[in-house]
Point group: none
Chain length 401, copies 2
Amino acid sequence: MYEMILPELIIRNDTKLVMLVIDGLSGTTDDNGLTELEAANTPRMDKLAASGSTGIQRPVGIGITPGSGPGHLALFGYDPVKYQIGRGVLEALGIGMKVGKGELAVRGNFCTMVDGIITDRRAGRISSEQGQKYIDMLSSKIKRIFDIEVEMAVSMEYRFAVIFKGSGLSDMLSDADPQVTGERPVTARPLKPNAEKSARIINKFIELATEILIDQHPANSVLMRGYSLLPDLQHFDERYGLRAVGIATYPMYRGLASLVGMDTPNASGFSIAQEFEMTSQLWDKYDFFFVHIKKTDSMGEDGNFAGKVQIIEDVDREIQALLDLDPDVLVITGDHATPSVLKSHSWHGVPLLLSSKFAFRDDAEKFSERECAKGILGHFPGFAIVPLMLANAQRLKKFGA
Amino acid sequence: MYEMILPELIIRNDTKLVMLVIDGLSGTTDDNGLTELEAANTPRMDKLAASGSTGIQRPVGIGITPGSGPGHLALFGYDPVKYQIGRGVLEALGIGMKVGKGELAVRGNFCTMVDGIITDRRAGRISSEQGQKYIDMLSSKIKRIFDIEVEMAVSMEYRFAVIFKGSGLSDMLSDADPQVTGERPVTARPLKPNAEKSARIINKFIELATEILIDQHPANSVLMRGYSLLPDLQHFDERYGLRAVGIATYPMYRGLASLVGMDTPNASGFSIAQEFEMTSQLWDKYDFFFVHIKKTDSMGEDGNFAGKVQIIEDVDREIQALLDLDPDVLVITGDHATPSVLKSHSWHGVPLLLSSKFAFRDDAEKFSERECAKGILGHFPGFAIVPLMLANAQRLKKFGA
């Protein structure tokens, strides 16, 4: 719906919009009947909830647990079912590689072959340093295959990512990975006729890599899978008339922000306070600020309820720095739930608070799943958040006369 | 959305899922300001609501009153607007006939003709016994028309159902029923070119039936309408990885369950306690249990507020038998509302409670429309219930990386 009507409605003005994403923010109730957000002492966010509007947003849909890719695409206003970001692209973004439109990103493993049989799909779980050594060998010799440019980088231990750049690429290929040991390697096969070129290139890459690594140990070949072609995502400026910046400590989230055209200054290793300080420094340069807090999700993944509570309280304590900037529209939400009791992402809804001059002041007295579920905004798909922010910034014209 | 992404997300495990459907469960407030569910004393379901999640599900959409077909298709996770079950199929299922994919089910009336004019479209509302006598006459002589196998059964009084089995059938036909008396019979006309074969078969059926009944009274011909071809519904096992069983006292609901691949043991005439006992007996054999309680709807249709309250209380009293099975996920809901004040199905939302280890414990203290409307699950389409149950059973992988 939005893609059909937004183009005619966009207005540019001087308003400043902030989307604060607390990764894995929401949860489910534990034995005490509380989530991490409910257990946290968050007087500043509670005050924002009390003076603004609240609701529950669903990144993908009821019952669906979003990965980080779909969770963020929804936050940025793109239907995450329509625009799917494959594993190869995410792997590449996660290690800070840039992926452009029409480029094919692939995940690779270094593996061990003996007498033509794969005996270890992870080459003895080599160190990242060893992996880097192999990547240096490959990247010095494989820069181009046919008319396609090749870039690669190690992601962790035996895992690496390759980006193929050029025209006519497709991700409709079978894995060049038998998935089990004791088998001969398999080649990438085209799943659609227009993927034949890509299959030839992947298979050539494997052939070249195996030649280069022939005398190495423990890795002497590679497996390739997770092919993904970057979908054509309209950029923020064109789509919303917003000059946007993504401030995030992890490359993956900067990468996701860059896919939709955000600038992504390096904030690696930044504290929450430093991220907010960077927001302040960039205040005049942008209209839209995506600020990403990672550690809530990490604590949830670790099953560390108290740790997640602590990070949420840290955000609350530091948030005054954002409020001092006096944004016209501030949204605080998450990209998905990461309940400590599940130690993983989950399907539970994500609370959202909207603070703006024109936000309906609903009955929520606290920022929590429970209160937001009764909020004035109801339960709605994540991809509606940016349009809602634009509306509150008076950046959208009336639809129809 | 679900049909696009679920196939890649399904995990099989040993969890047990129970969907208890109280037919026509919800209502609207009467003069005392209460619905039947609110007036009922339901301590056990209230306790489940208090310890689990609640919400309002909409089988078709706001303002739309679902028939039993759409109501149940939604409960089973199929968009009821996309997959429409025609009246012929429902008539056949309601009398316990089996309908297979690509088969054409048709509703028939016995009628009275005098001098080539239809004088009574219901043949004087003959008894079901008389109807059975006519059906015996027809079915002994019409077993096949061209290459199409013919099966028929009386449904009630002057009404019957016919199933045509074979290839190349279509339901795009005009009614062979003038709808008024004092007119000549009309033939079935193809509404699309590929329906010509079906039109010939229907018209041949009418011709043969009229010849067989020529000396009978009061019925001496038949009218045919409500053509419906069974849509291709993916079965539960393939769609969700669930071995499913439907436990229902009425053939119609067993029939609907069988359309999506559930086994449907005969529970005709069973009490609520007997239905729950059957659930227990089948516990090891299945993953998903659809348990259907009919009499709430019947009481609502009769305008019997107190009777509907009584049945709801009966369910609550017997429910301990289901709880003793300790299902991993239990959902209690209805297929639509049947308010006594309307004496019919209605468009009102349907409360739902979800009990599972991972369900958010929201603020609902009672199982009622009013409490569920404020629940953590919000208001959502009925076809999202099965995905939500799968998620709570940890039977769905994360979507995207």
